[in-house]
């Protein structure tokens, strides 16, 4: 299968950073080193040929016991000009679950990164306001991690009257 323009350009520009690329079921995917995430995202957005101007989604996957580096942060971009999508993934280790924030590039990343922190406990360096978003501040743990029990209950304690 012929590699798409986006993946080819990414390989050329970030040859030291792109670990792997594939196109499963037509979804172009590039796995990159986490240190370069901001540069890669900026390149995708600002390169005149690519113009991936939409950050459609930002989430993470917990590969507990399946992969050497436990977490993968997954970005989905859409280019209005090219009418194409691309998926960027960056692995993050359990010992230091953090990656640089891209909230300075897209406003929506602010909330998406907060959700990712809330659900997976992945820190986004340089995020202006990294608080929980869907859960309450008193919540302990990060529920979408695979080692968080599905039936665990954490009722919100009412203030003693």
């Amino acid at each position: 299968m012929i590699e798409g323009v986006t993946l080819k350009k990414l390989r050329e520009k970030f040859h030291g950073s792109v670990i792997e690329t594939h196109s499963h079921r037509g979804d172009d995917t590039a796995v990159i080193k986490r240190v370069d995430i901001v540069d890669v995202c900026r390149f995708l957005r600002d390169d005149a040929d690519l113009s991936y101007n939409f950050l459609m989604d930002l989430t993470a996957v917990d590969y507990l016991g399946k992969k050497e580096l436990r977490f993968e942060v997954v970005y989905h971009f859409y280019s209005f000009k090219k009418n194409e999508r691309v998926r960027i993934k960056a692995a993050v280790p359990e010992s230091d679950p953090s990656i640089d924030s891209i909230s300075s590039l897209w406003s929506v990343a602010n909330w998406l990164e907060r959700e990712c922190w809330d659900m997976f406990g992945i820190r986004f360096n340089g995020h202006p306001d990294l608080r929980r978003i869907l859960l309450y501040e008193e919540f302990e743990g990060h529920p979408l991690r695979k080692d968080y029990p599905v039936d665990k209950r954490q009722p919100l304690a009412l203030p003693e009257s």
Binding site: L55, V108, L112, L144
Partner: protein
């Protein structure tokens, strides 16, 4: 006159913090805003979501692929059929299968009926919050007519139809579907004319929405806006046109766009989109082919009840599909599938490890991204303008908070 202005200078207003919601009728029951006010002007705001969080993604990752369908109903509960089909299409993409043509037509028609009910609800609620109760009642009556059609087809009404299936739909359309749908559309079209007459040039309504809650195209893109809210700023992005799925490629329809990105343009965009959806439904009804409504692959779709009770192979097949570890097991891989939900791009990102449960199921919620832009849209405005601005975004708690 001079006295009044000196007086105004001397009266010092103190900045006030006001908590709006979550139990507030205009906050749709699920959002809390901490407002910092100077008089009636919003100086700053902190928007809190999550009051309707029920762990959708975690639940789906601990259920089989088939069981996740009912949870998708409850994402955008105003147009649940689109969620059903979006999820089913994502799993089909994992399998790499294509559904029969008739199934695609049924999905298209039911999606568009859902889109109309969603837009009707949004416009009606926004109008009601601004005091136009008549428009609200008219539109809900039209929605009721469409819900009757949905009820005929799915057995459920607006909120929980669970009609989509992986590899098809639950059942074929009832015999009188064509006639009932045409009647419901005709009724809705008349209602739209009435509502246009009541609202579009109504001074009270226009004054409250025009130039209020404005957002530019660049900002909307940066905030991840999609759907009518993005198109109201002039960006003609619609998944149905950009990356057609189902049978949208065969349909002739327009994507309405606005110019100002204010509440009025969002209202007009939705009103026009209802008309375009009706066009799609009419064309699809005319072109509807006959044939099966689900793929003939007994690893994916369930045998019909008659077959289960009538022959041994189907009974075994049925058991196997419902047994833990033997159910619908897509091959390893990851896919992202987007559909045009009523509020914008609704995406499902599924990671499969080959087992009977999704290893990771992520829903890209259009509402969540748009609510992140609320702060930008209401800051600096008047407190009373929060109501139409928030209403015209059509935030749906089930989808925003998941």
């Amino acid at each position: 006159m001079e006295n009044v202005s000196t007086l105004a200078k001397e009266i010092h207003t103190k900045e006030m913090t006001l908590q709006m919601g979550p139990s507030h009728p205009a906050m749709h029951g699920t959002v809390r805003m901490f407002l910092e006010l100077d008089g009636e002007t919003v100086v700053n705001v902190d928007v809190n979501v999550g009051y309707l969080h029920r762990g959708f993604e975690k639940m789906c990752e601990n259920r089989t692929y088939h069981q996740a369908i009912i949870y998708t109903d409850r994402l955008n509960y105003v147009s649940p059929l689109i969620n059903n089909f979006g999820y089913a299409m994502a799993v089909e993409k994992l399998f790499g299968i294509d559904v029969p043509e008739r199934c695609k037509f049924i999905r298209t028609i039911m999606s568009e009926i859902s889109r109309i009910t969603d837009h009707l609800t949004c416009v009606a609620a926004t109008a009601m919050e601004l005091g136009a109760l008549t428009a609200f009642l008219y539109m809900l009556k039209a929605r009721e007519e469409l819900w009757k059609v949905i009820e005929d087809v799915t057995g459920g009404r607006g909120v929980t139809p669970s009609y989509g299936r992986i590899g098809g739909v639950k059942a074929d359309l009832p015999d009188d579907f064509h006639g009932k749908t045409v009647n419901a559309i005709k009724y809705t079209r008349d209602v739209l004319k009435d509502v246009h007459g009541l609202l579009t040039k109504n001074r009270i309504f226009v004054d409250r929405v025009k130039g209020v809650g404005t957002i530019t195209a660049d900002e909307a893109v940066s905030y991840g806006f999609t759907g009518p809210c993005l198109r109201s700023t002039g960006v003609p992005y619609d998944v149905r046109k950009a990356q057609p799925y189902m049978v949208y490629e065969q349909m002739d329809f327009d994507v309405p766009v606005g110019t100002n990105g204010d509440n009025y343009d969002r209202y007009l965009c939705r009103m026009e989109e209802i008309l375009q959806s009706m066009r799609i439904i009419e064309q699809a009804l005319a072109k509807m082919p006959s044939g099966p409504v689900k793929v003939a692959d007994n690893r994916i779709t369930f045998p019909s009840k008659e077959e289960v009770y009538g022959n041994m192979e189907s009974l075994i097949n049925h058991f196997k599909l419902f047994m833990d570890g033997h159910g619908i097991c897509p091959p390893e891989g990851e896919v992202y599938q987007a559909v045009e939900g009523a509020n914008g791009e609704l995406g499902f990102y599924i990671v499969s490890d080959g087992a009977g449960k999704p290893y990771r199921l992520r829903c890209r919620p259009p509402s969540f991204c748009m609510v992140s832009g609320v702060k930008r849209m209401i800051k600096g405005g008047m407190i009373a303008d929060i109501v139409p601005t928030f209403g015209s975004l059509n935030m749906i708690g089930g989808e925003c908070d998941r």
